[in-house]
């Protein structure tokens, strides 16, 4: 994602610093008198909004994590790192942490495996109807999380849900479950909804990356007698490795964020905290418990956690980039 942010290539004239009105040579659209004002007028509205609603709130998260504050009263008390040390003994927090990590691992492994398989089959085998498959598989990605939560609430519904209703119709009543009400099952139910939501997205990403691999490489390896499976591991996977690493970062961010919005809309963290994830616990502390400082400390931990995991994963998966 960072590759295209390179400075613009200089045109006919040397780029002059915007504030020096002296450089008037050249015909390109810069280095003219009054550039500074034009730049300022163009840039300031966007920067002001960005600073006001993104930079400042982000700074606030870190600042507030060092205070105890019940919200609307003026009593904001500086407590240093107390909020963080309290977290270590907070069992609900640890449970939310565990749930987040579990979702991160399970959803990433399954989604990535299935996404890679689908992408490889669709690009390599020119499966008939693959544009239709792609169209359908990408649909969940344009639906809102509320809609997905509503769909899965209906699917998992204990009485008339699609799942239990189908099992009953097949006379498999014994397999019926309280999908969202069982402490042991609820996390899997959430994980399946996450998989359902994101499978098509990753498949499309992998497809576009696989489509850029030259056909000759496959022809050459076929001449060497490599079967499709071997081609996948020897040709496809190494060549889309960079892309795979990028999506790992997406997986980490979405395990934190998507799980929260789904849990918020579908289970509310229940039953009894069994599906609580880090961000939903942060919200609970901030709004229901009015412990804003404590909530923000959780936010800081999540932020640090996802940043560190991204960094570690990126380090661990580093390979010499292959050219084709």
């Amino acid at each position: 994602m960072t590759t295209t942010l390179t400075p613009p290539t200089p045109g006919a004239s040397k780029p002059a610093p915007g504030r020096s009105p002296t450089s008037r040579r050249g015909t390109a659209a810069r280095g003219r008198r009054g550039d500074g004002r034009f730049v300022a007028i163009c840039l300031l509205p966007a920067l002001a909004l960005f600073a006001l609603f993104m930079i400042w709130p982000t700074v606030s998260v870190f600042r507030m994590s060092l205070y105890t504050w019940s919200g609307f009263s003026a009593q904001m008390r500086f407590v240093g790192l107390d909020n963080f040390s309290k977290l270590i003994d907070d069992e609900q927090f640890l449970r939310a942490f565990q749930n987040t990590v579990a979702l991160l691992v399970v959803v990433t492994v399954v989604t990535m495996g299935m996404g890679l398989f689908l992408a490889a089959v669709m690009t390599r085998q020119k499966l008939r109807g693959h544009t239709f498959y792609r169209f359908v598989l990408y649909i969940p990605n344009v639906l809102s999380v509320v809609v997905i939560a509503a769909i899965f609430s209906a699917v998992y519904d204990q009485e008339n849900g699609l799942l239990n209703g189908t099992l009953r119709a097949l006379s498999l009543d014994g397999l019926q479950q309280v999908w969202l009400g069982d402490q042991k099952l609820v996390l899997y139910s959430v994980a399946i909804a996450m998989l359902w939501q994101s499978l098509g997205y990753y498949m499309v990403i992998y497809m576009s990356s696989m489509a850029s691999i030259p056909e000759e490489l496959y022809e050459a390896s076929a001449l060497d007698g490599a079967a499709a499976t071997r081609q996948f591991f020897a040709v496809t996977l190494p060549l889309i490795w960079q892309n795979l690493r990028t999506t790992l970062t997406f997986f980490i961010l979405s395990a934190v964020n998507l799980s929260f919005v789904l849990v918020r809309a579908m289970t509310g963290g229940g039953p009894d905290g069994a599906s609580e994830v880090l961000l939903s616990y942060m919200y609970k502390q901030a709004y229901t418990n009015s412990a804003y400082g404590y909530g923000m400390a959780i936010g800081v931990v999540i932020f640090a956690f996802s940043f560190l995991v991204s960094l570690l994963v990126s380090r661990a998966t580093r390979r010499e980039p292959l050219q084709f």
Binding site: T4, L127, F135
Partner: protein
Amino acid sequence: MTTINKSGPRPGRGLTHLLVGGITLLIMIPVGWVLVASLKRKSEFFGSPWTLPAGLHLQNYVDAFGGAQMGRYFATSVLVTLLGLVFVLAVSVPAAYVVARYEFRGKSIVEVALLAGLFVNVNYIVVPIFLMLVDWDRALVDVFPDGFFLDNPAVLSLVYAATSIPFTIYLLSAYFRSIPEDFEEAALLDGASRFRIMTRVMLPMARPAVTTVILFNFLAYWNDFIIALTLLPGEGKTLQVGLLNLMAAQKAAADPGRLYAGMVIVIVPVLLLYALIQRRLIQGMAAGGVKG
């Protein structure tokens, strides 16, 4: 759950077709089921979920639009989304152009800040934004006794616009850079002003990127519920928050028809748009590596 077919295509294409088709069905069935169920009568919800409704029970839609106020929420969502798009384009197009084409002091700081902004998720910062707006409302209580910033769709649009500025500028400026400078030089020789060059020469040429940006931001604004839930706590809700309420109400009232109709009202516009522009959407996603 379907497992990955490690053995590849050896057992023949039949098996892969079966697997891919099966996964596709697993995506289609729940969505199709909701569409069908939205036409069922209350009594038809009991028994097998696979029975088709006896007739088209459109009363569900009347209930959802009227009784559950989904019609009103729909209007709010349209307003908020359109305003957000106007705001974000109005501030991001000039900024992206300047970042792409001009040198100025502090440019690298601006670029790094925007790049970092790509990684700030709104879920973290909604609480501080909310508290900030509460503060502003309290400071202005003499002027606006009922508050101004909270429960204001325009402010919600502004927050939407602000949170998508990094992504929008990132995509637009990358595109501006890819346009040769010859066009601007020609326009400059014709005596066009900087502003005119930006709006009349560069903006039309950047149309593909602008379309992509509109698409992704439309989906983000239309589908959001975390920010809307927090910043519009009163009566004027967006469609997503309305649906969330409908879900909660349905649990108590056991009137699923209305909920399914409400879901269809939320799904259909997005699905239609997706059907119309799916190629562009998927291309744009592949090009930008954007998290949707």
